[in-house]
């Protein structure tokens, strides 16, 4: 059985989307193997943990970080269900990896189909400080939208739980990370 991470509705193994809330479903077997959303690129584990890749062992390893990040936000890639927890403080570069060009974003969306969805190498940046979280478009080709409003490049906007980000055509939900 698969339990929807968002609304906790129960579905059969193999079901692709939750019929209650529409979220993509990740099977328990996939989750345990960690193969659905392996962290790729130069992911800075001190910044966020990949919840999809979070086997029990991995969660235990990162328990301190998880605890620290319990009051922060998390990003869910709508199409794949990958979840990324943001740090309590710092900056996260979002984009797609290009080793030839020397671009290694903190959050690499390549496994989520970033190329096809029009995500730039250095697409957007999230800054988290004591006053809150902010998203800033880095003059990307296909733009960043926050709740369907196109961001003016290099003008940070406040980011809150419940917001919807769109990088090119890739949709990302912003949710409260209340800990596992």
């Amino acid at each position: 059985m698969i339990t929807c991470r968002r609304c906790h509705a129960v579905h059969l193994e193999g079901a692709l989307f939750c019929d209650q809330c529409g979220s993509p479903l990740v099977s328990m077997a996939d989750e345990a193997s960690g193969e659905v959303a392996p962290p790729t690129g130069k992911i800075k584990s001190e910044f966020f943990t990949s919840k999809e890749a979070g086997s029990e062992a991995m969660v235990a390893q990162n328990s301190l970080l998880v605890k620290e990040a319990a009051e922060t936000l998390q990003l869910t890639v709508s199409s794949t269900g990958r979840i990324f927890r943001l740090p309590v403080k710092g900056q996260v570069l979002i984009g797609r990896r290009d080793s030839l060009a020397g671009v290694f974003p903190d959050l690499d969306l390549t496994p989520d189909g970033a190329v096809a969805m029009g995500v730039s190498r250095s697409h957007a940046r999230i800054t988290i400080d004591e006053t809150g979280s902010y998203v800033e478009d880095l003059n990307s080709l296909n733009h960043t939208h926050l709740n369907r409003e196109r961001l003016v490049p290099h003008q940070p906007r406040a980011l809150r739980a419940g917001d919807e980000l769109q990088l090119g055509r890739l949709a990302i939900r912003v949710e409260s990370a209340l800990g596992p």
């Binding site: 059969l12 692709l16 709508s78």
Partner: protein, 463 residues
């Protein structure tokens, strides 16, 4: 996979997985069945027995009635030798305006159409029964028999009678297409009516599109590849059909026939049962928990009426199968069959396809992105349908949440404009506690037509 060159149509089935993980519990499998014209044999033009049932109630006044009249004249002039056209107009009563047999319209046809004026209320049952009866009078087996109902309004108190009349006509070989103009018509009722009548429902948001829609439907009715097509799905032992839905050219529920074939377990006899319904309309709604306790099921055959397959023959159907734990290395999961009559004769033909997958011990099975995409689009459609149902039941918070979920799915699918419209409607509903009938129709008919790329579905392997 199978094809029949002589029939010029092809039936293919693809699954969301290339192999079935060997699990100790039930699992879901999605199978996409597609019917398309191969183009090897030119399609045949069959004589047409067409009855147009046109609403001329007072709400049709102005541009709407003008466009309807122009379209009716166009269709009358498109009739060929051997065709039969009946034109019925209705408001709170119905009358036959024209019966045109075997040829293009006479001068008087145009004059009679021009003389139609907008007046009275809307009683769909009066117009519908009059039209169906007119079509029945002209009906012969050699003809494509169609009734096209166009209305812009609600009907009150006779909905059930309308549905029964449409169902009876379909069983007698007369298919009903429904065209809703403007925003005031009752789309739930007309959707049910088109489904009962074995045809389509089309939303025409602007009078300017009336002629275009009429012409497209006429082409589709005149040139057909197969008549009275029926899709049969027989899940293997230990497999259940949870739901079946048309997903292309638009998303719609299927009309189930009342005949199911029951194979007794243990290799016993096969019998035909009548009036048995093992799949409730709209699918099996029992919870996964209930399924978990269910025993392996007896295989049954589910039959779905597809009507005539016209020029726009490419159609796809998503079958949601629940598969119990399988013990064999190769699993035959379902048998899919298309029965139809060729345009030129009454010798029934069949195309068949098997859903067969190998079982694998690991659970890492790649998902076919095209099938996944279809499932995601269907999910978006179902979420917005649930949202309207919740709104109607007065649960606005739930409706708002469902619309936002649908909006997220649409955004993820790259349907930014529609996603935005859905989100705006969710916000509007949150503020006012009400739905707008224009938005409901735009969103419903926008999301149901989300799968326009069927010909590409099977064209290449997913990488």
């Amino acid at each position: 996979m199978s094809n029949d060159e002589a029939a010029a149509i092809e039936l293919k089935v693809a699954c969301d997985k290339c192999a079935l993980p060997s699990l100790a519990e039930d699992q879901m499998l999605y199978a996409l069945a597609a019917i398309s014209a191969t183009g090897y044999v030119p399609p045949t033009r069959v004589p047409l027995n067409l009855c147009l049932v046109l609403d001329h109630s007072s709400s049709m006044h102005g541009e709407k009635l003008k466009q309807v009249k122009e379209s009716a004249k166009y269709i009358a002039h498109q009739m060929r030798t051997g065709d039969r056209l009946t034109l019925v107009v209705f408001s709170d009563r119905a009358k036959t305006l024209i019966v045109q047999l075997g040829g293009t319209a006479a001068q008087t046809t145009s004059q009679l159409i021009d003389a139609v004026e907008a007046r009275g209320g809307t009683e769909i049952y009066a117009g519908l029964t009059h039209g169906l009866e007119a079509a029945r009078k002209q009906q012969t087996d050699a003809f494509g028999n169609h009734v096209v109902l166009l209305t812009d309004g609600h009907t009150y108190g006779d909905e059930q009678n309308c549905l029964e009349a449409a169902r009876a006509a379909r069983e007698a070989g007369i298919f009903l297409t429904v065209l809703g103009v403007g925003t005031e018509w009752n789309d739930e009722f007309l959707t049910d009516l088109a489904t009962a009548g074995g045809g389509a429902l089309e939303y025409i948001d602007s009078p300017r599109k009336i002629a275009e829609v009429f012409q497209a439907h006429l082409r589709n009715m005149q040139i057909i590849y197969a008549r009275e097509a029926n899709l049969h799905v027989r899940p293997a032992e230990g497999v259940r059909l949870k739901d079946a839905c048309r997903v292309s050219p638009y998303i719609a529920n299927l009309t189930r026939e009342d005949t199911t074939r029951v194979s007794f377990r243990g290799g016993g006899p096969t019998r035909l049962g009548h009036g048995e319904r093992d799949l409730p309309p709209g699918g099996d709604r029992s919870s996964p928990h209930q399924k978990m306790g269910a025993q392996a099921t007896t295989p049954m055959e589910h039959s779905f009426c597809l009507g005539h397959l016209g020029q726009e023959a490419d159609q796809a159907f998503l079958l949601e199968l629940i598969v119990s734990p399988q013990a064999t290395p190769i699993c035959r999961l379902a048998h899919v069959r298309l029965d139809y009559l060729p345009p030129g004769n009454d010798v029934e033909k069949s195309l068949e396809a098997e859903v067969i997958l190998p079982t694998v011990t690991h659970s890492q099975v790649e998902t076919d992105s095209k099938v996944r995409d279809v499932v995601e689009r269907l999910t978006a459609f179902r979420l917005q349908e649930k949202a309207w149902a919740s709104a109607q039941a007065g649960d606005i918070p739930q409706a708002t949440q469902l619309l936002k979920a649908a909006s997220t799915r649409l955004l993820s699918l790259g349907e930014s404009e529609l996603s935005q419209a859905v989100f705006a409607e969710a916000q509007q509903m949150e503020r006012t506690g009400q739905t707008s009938s224009i938005a409901v129709k735009r969103i419903r008919y926008g999301t149901r037509g989300l799968i326009p790329f069927l010909p590409r579905l099977f064209s290449r392997r997913n990488k």
